[in-house]
């Protein structure tokens, strides 16, 4: 059993090693500053895709986080045992387990077909749909950990419900919420399938989001399936970049959570 365990760990380590080894050669300054050259022509970079991914992720977070947080608030503060709340919790789990390619197809039917063209907006919405349940769950979990005494004290001081929630309870659960958002962001920045049918991809700088928008993940998909060594190397570089980003956010949120454990609101 021990050798099996070690084999499993070894292969996973090997994967990380290959990503680092093959990807680091590609991460030149040009990679971060230039747009792609035509296929088969060496040189250029993926700066447009990096910007595109950042923008799409930012918009998706901007859309998904408020909805997820407010929904989490509802579940934690107002509807702990009601039937709606149970239904919402159950549905949230189902939504979280829905394959992201199905979400991409859904947004295609909703936002690409009627509008008549692919767009970064559709891509961002697809990513937002993935973010909402994650943020909802973390928010509800974090808020329900806040002791009722805090809420009651705020209300006793005459604060209206919404201010009590936003002001007092949020502040207490802040780090947990931030962690939840960070994790959601890390999750969607690596998603490819939802963008395949919504934002598609582009060789150019994203000047407006109302058209196919360059992004790292679909670029990796296209480049990896190509025969050009230069493109394949760039695909590894982009993979390394995303992996580092995701791991960095993971470490960061772990760090934030650990620090939170050391502080306490209980006197």
């Amino acid at each position: 059993m021990v050798p099996a365990a070690l084999l499993g760990i070894a292969v996973l380590a090997w994967i990380l090693w290959e990503v680092i080894a093959r990807g680091s050669a590609a991460l030149t300054p040009a990679f971060f500053t230039q747009a792609p050259t035509p296929p088969g022509v060496e040189g250029g970079g993926l700066a447009n895709a990096i910007v595109g991914t950042l923008v799409l992720t930012a918009i998706a977070t901007g859309i998904g986080t408020p909805i997820g947080v407010l929904a989490g608030v509802f579940l934690a503060e107002f509807g702990t045992k009601s039937r709606i709340a149970t239904a919402v919790r159950f549905t949230t789990n189902l939504l979280m387990g829905t394959p992201s390619i199905i979400i991409g197809i859904f947004v295609y039917a909703l936002l690409v077909l009627p509008v008549g063209h692919f767009s970064g907006w559709a891509g961002a919405v697809a990513l937002a749909i993935i973010i909402i349940p994650v943020v909802l769950r973390t928010t509800e979990d974090m808020l329900s950990l806040v002791p009722d005494e805090l809420r009651e004290s705020a209300l006793a001081l005459g604060a209206p419900r919404w201010r009590a929630t936003l002001g007092v309870v949020f502040r207490a659960a802040k780090t947990g919420l931030v962690t939840g958002v960070l994790l959601a962001v890390a999750r969607v920045s690596g998603e490819t399938a939802p963008l395949l049918f919504t934002a598609l991809n582009s060789y150019y700088w994203p000047e407006t989001i109302n058209e196919p928008t360059a992004n790292l993940t679909v670029t990796i998909f296209n480049y990896a399936m190509s025969p050009y060594a230069d493109w394949q190397e760039k695909a590894w570089g982009a993979s390394l970049l995303i992996t580092v980003g995701v791991l960095f956010v993971g470490v960061l949120s772990r760090f934030v959570l650990d620090r939170r454990k050391k502080t306490s609101w209980q006197t």
Partner: protein, 314 residues
């Protein structure tokens, strides 16, 4: 000091608005789910209308002649997921048990943390590694050996291509491994030490204590993790599309190329040129959606039943 009686009507309204706003946001989730189901059903109507339930059992896939069937994609989805789970579950348990019971605490913490981070690595990375590193290894070293030793089984017959069903299943296994390991490890860490100590106290070996106490105690969480892993593997696109070989044929051999619902969608959705083709793809998506839903609901009730049994036991 202001008190509730003095709070004005406007504040009541603000509170009510707040409550309505948050309720509306939580209903967004339900609306999304309903929306997905609706869109998938609406767009599948044409295919289901033309082919009927035959669609689910037909292994045809000929866009030129407008003949479509879900069987080859469903087969590939189930087979690749089965391979993945058959390998990942025992391996995850082994790794988790190793980390919790055997390894030096500092090493365990480091490796455990690393595995949790690995669980967050995007699946396209696994696909990349599969295509560029693993496929060649499979074709030149692993598949020939399997073909020689186990070639009497139809599962391992046929030319080794490096890409195909078996490779896809193995990559899926690797992808699901960190996730199940991380959850299992967390579950095992929650087993009260006193239970393990009492087992040792009556003379149980480490393996007996693990099996009898820790794994049994953490059954629920572990089963939940396995179900979740299964659900993820069913719908996985990127790890699989690179290495499954994209062929709409059902083959007895694991060396052959195949397709999953997710890889068919990824490859063909943007290209389906006739409405019946697109509708058939929507129907495939509906089938996948249905499969994952069934799985998640089953998992939910299984875990709930285990919970009831446990509280009943005590």
């Amino acid at each position: 000091m202001p008190n509730a009686a003095v709070r004005g009507a406007s504040e009541h309204r603000a509170d009510r608005a707040f409550r309505v706003l948050t309720a509306a946001c939580s209903l967004v989730v339900i609306a999304l789910m309903a929306g997905i189901l609706f869109e998938l059903l609406a767009n599948s109507r044409e295919a289901l209308g033309t082919f009927g339930w035959r669609f689910l059992t037909s292994d045809a896939w000929n866009p030129g002649r407008a003949e479509f069937g879900a069987a080859s994609s469903v087969y590939g989805t189930l087979v690749s997921t089965a391979i993945a789970m058959l390998l990942a579950v025992p391996l995850s348990l082994a790794v988790a048990v190793y980390l919790v019971e055997v390894a030096h605490p500092r090493l365990a913490k480091f490796v455990g943390g690393a595995i949790e981070l690995l669980a967050a690595v995007p699946s396209i990375i696994y696909g990349m590694w599969g295509l560029f590193v693993f496929a060649t290894l499979m074709q030149r070293h692993i598949q020939p050996v399997l073909g020689e030793r186990l070639g009497f089984l139809p599962l391992f017959q046929g030319p080794p291509m490096g890409i195909g069903m078996l490779t896809a299943g193995l990559i899926l296994a690797l992808m699901v491994l960190p996730f199940i390991t991380a959850v299992t490890r967390d579950v095992l860490l929650m087993v009260p030490p006193v239970l393990k100590e009492s087992a040792h106290g009556v003379g149980a070996t480490m393996w007996e204590a693990t099996r009898g106490v820790s794994l049994r105690y953490g059954r629920r969480g572990i089963v939940g993790a396995v179900f979740l892993g299964f659900g993820r593997a069913l719908g996985e696109t990127m790890a699989v599309t690179f290495v499954i070989g994209n062929s709409h044929r059902i083959s007895a051999s694991l060396f052959a190329a195949g397709n999953t619902i997710a890889s068919s969608l990824a490859n063909e959705f943007n290209e389906a040129s006739e409405p019946i083709y697109l509708s058939s793809l929507f129907t495939l998506a509906l089938v996948l959606f249905g499969l994952t839903l069934v799985f998640q609901i089953a998992a939910h009730f299984w875990v709930a039943r285990m919970q009831r049994q446990e509280t009943g036991d005590r």
